[in-house]
């Protein structure tokens, strides 16, 4: 379980997040949505232990986050792949940093790359891949460390619509296989509704949470085509518009 208490985060002297309180249950998927500059990415960096809070605390499974946590997988907006490493080397980077034995890495990474359909690209460099393929590598890298918490910062925002929906389906499938706690930051209403069992709407003016919404439809690719999906999207959109006035 994740508990956030009175969290304040600053960027130089600007307060980005102002006294946020939030609870996310284990094995829950949670989408954080809001316009640019509302601090949603900062919140994710805080959860990942990349940026330190100015005050308040983030607790994951009863221990306070200070720096990197071993069981947290992170996927960044710009993929975060090392341009000088091949698909294989990028995917296995997390494991080799942890000092995992070579043959164990080999076994794990080939399974994950096959599962994500990028095994044939293993000797290619990021520059040779499409955006969707690069993001699959980033997913592979995050999964390789067998996380219990998966954090994603606008992971699919620079992809075309088809690649984006494909990868959203991948996230659903991964969750259905192993129910990792999943937090995804996004500015797309559709993505938030499709991927979040809990949808958190951020308010850019106050630097706080405007509204939390429960969404029980998660878990099926076909959800995207239902009227419930569109109803929820409309609801979220209305809530966001209230935010901006």
């Amino acid at each position: 379980m994740i508990e956030i208490n009175d969290l304040v985060m600053k960027y130089s002297d600007n307060i980005i997040l102002n006294k946020i309180n939030l609870q996310i249950d284990a094995h829950e998927t949670c989408a954080i949505i809001g316009p640019s500059g509302c601090g949603k990415s900062t919140l994710l960096y805080g959860l990942a232990g990349i940026v330190k809070p100015a005050s308040g605390s983030i607790t994951i499974d009863n221990s306070i986050v200070v720096g990197n946590r071993k069981e947290t997988g992170v996927i960044l907006q710009t993929y975060g792949l090392m341009p000088w490493k091949t698909v294989w080397e990028n995917a296995s980077l997390g494991l080799s940093i942890r000092g995992v034995k070579k043959n164990s890495i080999e076994e794990k990474i080939s399974i994950i790359l096959k599962q994500l359909h990028i095994y044939d690209l293993r000797d290619q460099y990021p520059v040779q891949l499409s955006g969707g393929q690069r993001q699959r590598v980033a997913i592979a890298r995050a999964l390789s460390i067998e996380p219990d918490l998966l954090l994603m910062d606008e992971p699919f925002s620079s992809l075309d619509a088809i690649a984006r929906e494909e990868l959203q389906n991948v996230v659903v499938d991964l969750y259905n296989q192993k129910a990792m706690t999943t937090i995804i930051v996004t500015h797309s209403i559709e993505e938030a509704v499709f991927l979040g069992q809990k949808i958190i709407i951020m308010d850019p003016t106050t630097g706080n949470i405007k509204k939390t919404l429960d969404n029980h439809h998660f878990g099926d690719h076909a959800f995207r085509n239902t009227t419930d999906f569109h109803k929820t999207c409309v609801e979220v959109r209305k809530l966001m518009e209230v935010t901006s006035t």
């Binding site: 990197n68 907006q77 975060g80 997390g94 460390i145």
Partner: protein
């Protein structure tokens, strides 16, 4: 067809082109200051069996030591300043001021401090190329995106691992480019530095031939110094193809060497 031949045999093509131009000058100018290239090449091979190789070898050693020292000193100082903005605040302006200064003008100082032998020659070359390498490494570290640092620290990398997986591979292509430029510079500085207090080195060999008005031998020396430069360039190319394949792919260049 012609395009593919030119691309695959760049060096061979360039060599033939240069020799033909040389021959043309030789025919047009009709002076012994431009000797016949074919005669010169013949003399070059004869001299190789004599002591030309020794002269080239001595010069190569001087360059190698200078480059090595400059890369170690300039590279590590550049990495440090690139990663620590606080110190770059103090040293950056000083480096900016000293960078374009013609260090070669301080040769007398080097001679007095380091003597007339190898040390002053090596120190002179080192100080000249050190700045190039320092500035290149520092700026390429500074240009690294924050996201990459976030990315690697989210994987739990320690300081050594950040250098190993992020900083060093990132600066490698620019370092090699800086090295390529510095080697060109260092060969011309070497030529200058080998004009005093030595009887070995390719610079000495060329000037000595000139004084003896033996232009054929002088040109044979020029061939030797050119080959030395070419050899080092090719070595850097090979290193680049091996270590920085990704950078060549990003530039869209052929990676088959």
């Amino acid at each position: 067809m012609i395009k593919s031949i030119l691309l695959n045999y760049k060096t061979v093509y360039a060599t033939i082109f240069v020799i033909l131009c040389w021959y043309l000058f030789h025919v047009i100018i009709q002076s012994n200051i431009i000797p016949n290239p074919f005669e010169t090449i013949l003399v070059f091979f004869q001299l190789l069996q004599d002591d030309l190789l020794l002269h080239v070898g001595v010069s190569f050693l001087r360059i190698a030591v200078s480059v090595l020292v400059a890369v170690i000193l300039g590279g590590s100082l550049g990495l440090f300043l690139g990663l620590h903005e606080k110190y770059d605040l103090y040293f950056g302006p000083v480096i900016y001021l000293l960078y374009p200064l013609p260090k070669i003008a301080f040769l007398p100082v080097f001679m007095i401090l380091f003597g007339l032998g190898n040390t002053s020659k090596i120190a002179l070359i080192t100080i000249i190329i050190l700045f190039q390498i320092l500035v290149t490494t520092r700026d390429s570290v500074k240009g690294l995106s924050k996201e990459l640092f976030y990315s690697i620290s989210s994987l739990g990398a320690n300081k050594r691992q950040v250098y190993q997986h992020l900083v060093l591979p990132a600066v490698m292509p620019k370092l090699l480019t800086a090295l390529r430029i510095s080697v060109g510079t260092s060969i011309s500085v070497l030529f200058f530095a080998e004009n005093y207090a030595t009887t070995y080195g390719i610079g000495y060999f060329i000037m000595d031939s000139w004084i003896r008005v033996d232009y054929v031998e002088m040109f044979a020396g020029i061939i030797a110094i050119s080959l030395l430069g070419l050899l080092v360039f090719k070595a850097i190319d090979l290193l680049e193809a091996k270590l920085c394949k990704w950078a060549l792919l990003e530039k869209g260049e052929n990676t088959n060497f």
